[in-house]
């Protein structure tokens, strides 16, 4: 059976009708007991399982997914990967992720199509340019790449930009992070799943966690739609549903869930070769390898768990898009949808132990969870393996809400998560 992916194995399998490929992951029955249970088979959960095996040698691990792998926000986002953050804590976190993404296809032996075509944040005024300079300097001092583009450089970089004299939002320049880009979201989930499975992790789909099993004030397992499963440590990485899970464990989380919409257009020949973000309009867009424009915007106005789109937000997002790139107004949208994102008071994630011993959370990524998958998994694996924080994850513990040491990027730099 062909396990390793390569041009050669593809060629060979092509000649014999691709009969030799085995399953990308098994569909095992859950065991009664594991060293670690990871709840949530999205990117973060699967990456956590992978790094538990790879970095810590812990392979007696189950990933419990109530639906299908990558079916939550991992499979619903706009696939942007970047680390253009202001505070050192954030850059350390997201740049770890970016670096892991840079080697991920080889690491997982699965092409996640990380395309480093740059992430470009537009500036529409002089004050925004000043803030952009502050951000670029911060990024570079914190050890990641950033460039400040002026209007001329930007026009050459993105010919389709609206530079008409009557444009409502004039183009002054941009912050470019050249190493940023997009990845193939499903491939990230599948790649991690396949690699984790190969290392011995049990990935169990259609297995919903119904409750937590506690003994002596400690969480020792979960009861699921497929029976009780026990473990020494239990980590939850369930994004927009974190509050629901936390409630079952009797712990509170400072999270509000919102729908976040995304859109994809019909496939076009190449028209945009970067990820373009306008913090003012809140709209961002990139072009997928298939040619579709992948478009996103701000949160819905109304907290919700309804995975549905909403016309007013659609208007806001698309009006922002056509203001930036008016040639696209005649392009058609093929579909739009929404994910449920978990938003904390400072829009930064929560990583670490919960009030219930033995239960850990990886949540609060809000609108930016996809880009953080490798780091989220890497750090959460560290926490689950050692019971202690990694230096990079420590500032993101839930205790920051008591000390007040929030990491509020939006307030710092106007860069939305």
């Amino acid at each position: 059976m062909a396990r390793r992916y390569s041009a050669w194995s593809l060629f060979r399998e092509g000649l014999r009708g691709h009969k030799g490929w085995g399953p990308a992951w098994r569909s095992p029955e859950p065991k009664k007991r594991y060293d670690v249970i990871v709840i949530g088979g999205g990117g973060h959960g699967l990456a956590t399982a992978y790094y538990l095996a790879k970095n810590h040698g812990i392979t007696n691990v189950a990933v419990l997914e109530k639906g299908w792998l990558g079916g939550g926000n991992t499979g619903r986002n706009t696939t942007v990967i970047r680390s253009n953050y202001f505070y050192p804590e954030s850059v350390a976190l997201y740049d770890l992720s970016l670096r892991l993404y840079e080697g991920l296809s080889k690491d997982l032996n699965y092409n996640v199509m990380f395309s480093q075509r740059g992430v470009t944040n537009l500036c529409h005024s002089e004050p925004e340019m000043e803030m952009a300079a502050r951000l670029v300097n911060a990024m570079r001092l914190n050890g990641t790449d950033a460039e400040l583009l002026d209007a001329d450089q930007l026009r050459k970089f993105i010919p389709a930009l609206n530079i008409r004299p009557d444009a409502r939002l004039p183009i002054h320049g941009a912050v470019l992070q050249p190493r940023g880009g997009t990845g193939r979201h499903d491939a990230v989930a599948w790649g991690y799943a396949r690699a984790a499975d190969a290392a011995g992790v049990d990935i169990i789909q259609n297995c919903e966690v119904l409750d937590f099993i506690t003994e002596g004030g400690r969480c020792v397992g979960v009861s699921t739609s497929r029976g009780d499963i026990r473990a020494d440590r239990i980590g939850a990485a369930v994004a927009g549903h974190s509050s629901v899970l936390a409630e079952k464990a009797g712990v509170g989380l400072p999270i509000t869930s919102y729908a976040l919409q995304a859109f994809v257009s019909e496939p076009l020949k190449p028209v945009l070769d970067t990820v373009l973000i306008s913090p003012v309009t809140g709209t961002y867009v990139s072009q997928s390898d298939k040619g579709g424009l992948v478009i996103g915007g701000g949160l819905d106005r109304v907290p919700s768990y309804g995975q549905r789109g909403n016309l007013p937000v659609q208007e806001t997002v698309m009006a922002g898009l056509t203001e930036m790139l008016p040639i696209l107004s005649k392009v058609k949208l093929l579909r739009h949808w929404a994910g449920i994102v978990d938003v904390t008071p400072d829009s930064s994630p929560i990583l670490g132990p919960s009030a219930l011993e033995g239960l850990y959370f990886n949540c609060g990524w809000g609108t930016g969870g996809f880009k953080a998958i490798p780091a989220g998994g890497y750090l959460f694996a560290h926490i689950l393996a050692t019971g202690a924080h990694h230096d990079i994850s420590r500032p993101f513990g839930a205790d920051r809400f008591t000390t007040g040491r929030l990491i509020d990027e939006g307030a710092a730099s106007g860069i939305a998560h």
Partner: protein, 932 residues
């Protein structure tokens, strides 16, 4: 020519020929044709190429179910990408090109890719391009991918109008069921809207000889007339593209080609889905060949457009609709052979040109294969609204099950495929009567893809997903229907799976030996058919996109040669004069310091708080103690968030015992007002506090500079302007030529200033009087840019520029209320959290540079002197001060207040320089000029 126009019949207007071109060749069609029907009428079969293998593609369906015939269409010099040929109406002069094909659809240089198909199966790209690096391969793959190119022109006026409306009953679909339901509902007194996406209502009725004893045309016309007579509305060329919360249905109403559709947000008490059904493809070897088409599509081409799909037709169908369809085609002149597809393996013969069909080893010559694998109801909107689907064995289809509130499905959309029954059902539903059960004459034999069978069998025509790809996905355990879709891209083409999803999930079911309903469907997502981005973006572009607030005095500023710009949501004078902005700003700063500047400060918030509890309320809202403020006096203060961070700064004046005026930042007024209202109603007695935002009632002009008093004196108001009678931080109410004015002695420049507020309709008089008085002493108007410099010289901050989201008042040198204020105030407890007590907080400081050095760049960081530079803060405001003759800067710096006099390293885009930390005030630190 295989497909051709017949001499009569159809809804087209043969008296109005239209000329158009396709891939460089000129053709003729008629008014009423679609692009596809016109090309078929000219014998053109190959209209495009598939996405991956560049296989030739002819049209499959005659309606929204066609994934193949996609064109870039140019009309009137404007090119529109990826127009669906089956639903785009032909216009005279259209220039159409196939997409993803070069030089033409019939001869495509990339057609050779098909030879590599065995290596380009599902997900091949996940398994390779890993070494040496994806970036090496990606550009080539990106160029290969994509359908049409989007042209660079911006189409003037291509914007969708928006309309909000509501109705009691919205009927989606103007076929037999929809028309009958609309008529019945309208005639029973309901407010009815019927939407139909074709030019002409009637659905498939034109395929019939008669309907309830009338010709289809007459019957349709009768229904439409009756609906309108009963007050109902009929909207043709209108597509219901999505159902949103609270029964809001998005409707896209097409205009002429080249115009953006109008968006209707239609709120319906009740939604009746009569969207019909489409024919399913049959999965067999080479079923993607041009000339293999939907049987129902062919009947539509004949009935609506007078186009006969072929001359020698094989009809391949598993259901009872085949016989009447075959009869209809035969009557139109075709030679028709009916073939049962359930008898054995099937294979299409021929390549670009179809030669025949082989079933169970038996060959039938044919130039056209018309296929019907059973009907699939169009239940998209049902699912948008959260309706359930049930698998129905009898019809071999997913049919509407448990209904979303306020929604019903009728006719073919509900699996009621027989006309008489559909009409009965439609009328019953419209009248709220019990509906008959679905049983009818429609018969269909199960016919699904057979795993393991030979040949390349297409599931998704446009995206080149074959049965083998589904088998591969299953082998690799991508068995969830969503994994199947994502791994193979099945269902992600222009038709969003309308033609492919059923076959795909049935194939997966067969491979796994599971029943179809257990595999389930993928999610149905809006829009029902692709819609232009303009439909969503709305009509308000340019000035009307995020419109700015406009000053009452804008005409006078323009007359004074003001350069206007956006400042905090207002269009305001940045400076006065044309050319050389920096020179003008510099001159204005010097003018303000030497004589006086006159500034339009009208956007400054003027929010009045009144009532018996006003005093305690503002004392609670402000960080500073306000209750000790005496009438006629003014205090500078901060509003905090409950997290203790500075939200806004400004002055508050007390006009009387129960009346305060809050002067908040121009751009924060709306936010501050909402903040006040929220606290007023939550935790206070709203009957004892009232908040009036009077910002726009008053215009405010500021005169600032050593000559300010002389200028204001020239207004001749009954007011003693002397410093003793009218000191700094006080306010007087007086009159100017009989009009009430408020004069406040507050300063944002550090110089003697008078802020004069007058009702906006009289502001022009005040402006002119001040300018006239100013002219005699060499004073004149100044803009915001000069003000920014003036206030920075004095060290006055701008919230959001010189502060960040974490800034607390004690970081800005205002620590006393934090220590001393006894009463509760917003944010109080947060000022004593651990974070607030940290000794490395960033604090407001000033910076000086060495003589002759340039100004520090705003946004530059201050770095420690360790080996790896670490940011300790940043420059927030920086100017070359015209007043002082050297650069000045403000910034936030860790432990800044303790570091006055220290040299710090400055870092900007890799360049280092240095500066000296100083107190954040460069001008008149003793305040003599302020208090003058």
């Amino acid at each position: 020519m295989t497909s051709h126009r017949i001499t009569q019949g159809g809804l087209i207007d043969r008296s109005r020929p239209l000329r158009f071109s396709f891939d460089g060749k000129t053709y003729q069609g008629y008014e009423g044709d679609t692009l596809v029907s016109a090309l078929l009428a000219n014998g053109v079969r190959i209209m495009g190429r598939s996405f991956k293998y560049h296989r030739p593609r002819g049209p499959w369906g005659a309606w929204v179910d066609d994934p193949n015939a996609v064109f870039n269409v140019t009309l009137g010099g404007v090119e529109f990408p990826n127009c669906p040929g089956a639903t785009t109406m032909l216009r005279d002069g259209m220039v159409t090109r196939s997409v993803n094909a070069f030089p033409s659809a019939s001869f495509d240089l990339k057609g050779g890719l098909d030879l590599l198909h065995r290596w380009l199966g599902a997900g091949f790209y996940y398994k390779t391009f890993i070494w040496p690096d994806w970036h090496l391969f990606e550009p080539m793959i990106r160029r290969m991918a994509g359908l049409g190119a989007v042209s660079a022109e911006v189409i003037e006026g291509y914007a969708s109008d928006q309309m909000h409306d509501r109705c009691e009953v919205l009927i989606v679909g103007g076929g037999a069921a929809g028309l009958a339901a609309a008529r019945a509902a309208a005639e029973s007194g309901r407010d009815v809207v019927l939407v139909e996406d074709h030019d002409q209502a009637g659905g498939r009725l034109y395929q019939l000889d008669s309907v309830e004893g009338q010709t289809p045309q007459d019957w349709v016309a009768d229904q439409l007339a009756a609906i309108e007579a009963a007050g109902g509305r009929v909207m043709t060329r209108t597509t219901a593209f999505g159902v949103f919360d609270h029964r809001m249905v998005g409707l896209a109403q097409q205009g002429p080609f080249g115009y953006a559709p109008r968006l209707w947000r239609m709120r319906a008490d009740r939604i009746v889905l009569a969207s019909g059904a489409i024919d399913r493809p049959v999965t067999f070897a080479n079923n993607d060949r041009p000339g293999v088409m939907s049987l129902d599509g062919a009947c539509e081409w004949l009935a609506r457009y007078g186009v006969l799909a072929g001359r020698n037709i094989a009809v391949l169908s598993n259901n009872s609709f085949a016989a009447p369809a075959a009869r209809m085609l035969a009557e139109a002149g075709a030679e028709v052979t009916e073939i049962d597809p359930t008898t054995g393996p099937i294979r299409a013969l021929g390549s670009k040109r179809l030669k025949g069909i082989e079933v169970a080893g038996k060959r039938h010559p044919a130039d056209t294969i018309l296929v019907s694998g059973g009907m699939t109801p169009l239940v998209h909107l049902w699912r948008h609204a959260g309706g359930k689907l049930d698998w129905d064995e009898r019809t071999q289809a997913f049919l509407p099950g448990a209904a979303p509130e306020g929604m019903a499905a009728i006719g073919a959309a509900n699996g009621t495929f027989d006309l008489d029954q559909a009409l009965t059902e439609a009328r019953a539903v419209a009248r709220d009567e019990p509906r008959p059960d679905r049983a009818g004459d429609y018969r269909v034999k199960p016919l699904w893809p057979e795993p393991g069978s030979k040949g390349r069998q297409w599931i998704d025509f446009q995206h080149d997903v074959t049965l083998k790809d589904v088998e591969l996905a299953a082998r690799e355990n991508y068995v969830s229907v969503e994994h199947l879709k994502r791994y193979t891209t099945l269902g992600m083409a222009q038709d969003q799976g309308k033609t492919s999803n059923m076959a795909g999930l049935a194939a997966m079911a067969a491979i796994q030996g599971r029943p179809i309903p257990e595999v389930g469907t993928t999610t149905f997502r809006p829009p029902f058919v692709p819609q232009p981005i303009a439909l969503y973006s709305g009509p308000h572009a340019g000035q009307l996109y995020h419109p700015l607030k406009r000053l009452a005095l804008e005409p006078l500023h323009r007359a004074a040669d003001a350069a206007l710009g956006e400042y905090g949501g207002w269009l305001r004078p940045g400076w006065y004069g044309s050319g050389d902005p920096a020179g003008h700003v510099r001159a204005e700063v010097i003018k303000a310091r030497e004589t006086a500047g006159i500034l339009d400060a009208s956007p400054l918030g003027k929010v009045e708080v009144m009532g018996p509890d006003a005093e305690s309320f503002v004392n609670f809202i402000y960080y500073n103690t306000i209750k000790t403020l005496k009438p006629g006096h003014i205090r500078y203060g901060f509003m905090l968030t409950e997290r203790g961070n500075v939200m806004d700064d400004g002055v508050i004046a007390r006009l009387g015992p129960n009346r305060f005026v809050i002067s908040c930042s121009s751009s924060h007024t709306d936010h501050v007002r909402a903040h006040l209202e929220a606290w007023r109603q939550d935790g206070n007695d709203p009957d004892r506090i009232f908040i009036h935002d009077l910002t726009q009632q008053w215009s405010t002009l500021t005169v600032t500079g050593p000559k300010a008093r002389d200028i204001v004196a020239a207004l001749d108001m009954p007011l003693d302007l002397s410093a003793d009678a009218f000191p700094h931080m006080t306010l007087r109410e007086t009159t100017l030529n009989g009009t009430p004015v408020r004069v406040a002695r507050v300063s944002f420049t550090g110089d003697l200033s008078f802020e004069i507020s007058i009702r906006s309709s009289r502001a022009a008089d005040l402006w002119q009087a001040l300018c006239a008085a100013g002219e005699s002493v060499g004073a004149g108007p100044i803009g915001i840019e000069a003000l920014s410099v003036l206030r920075a010289e004095k060290g006055f901050i701008i919230i959001g520029k010189d502060t960040e989201g974490e800034t607390m008042p004690h970081d800005l040198g205002f620590g006393i209320p934090r220590q001393k204020k006894q009463a509760a105030f917003v944010g109080d407890r947060s000022l004593h959290m651990e974070v607030a007590n940290r000794d490395d907080r960033r604090q407001l400081v000033g910076f000086r540079v060495d003589p002759g050095a340039p100004p520090l760049p705003t946004g530059a960081h201050l770095i420690g002197d360790g080996d790896t530079p670490r940011s300790e803060g940043y420059v927030t405001s920086s100017y070359d001060s015209p007043t002082l003759g050297h650069p000045i800067a403000l910034g936030l710096l860790e432990r800044g207040a303790d570091r006055i006099g220290e040299r710090v390293a400055v870092w900007h885009l890799g360049q280092r320089s240095s500066a000296t930390v100083c107190a954040p005030c460069f001008f008149d630190p003793e305040g003599e000029r302020l208090n003058a």
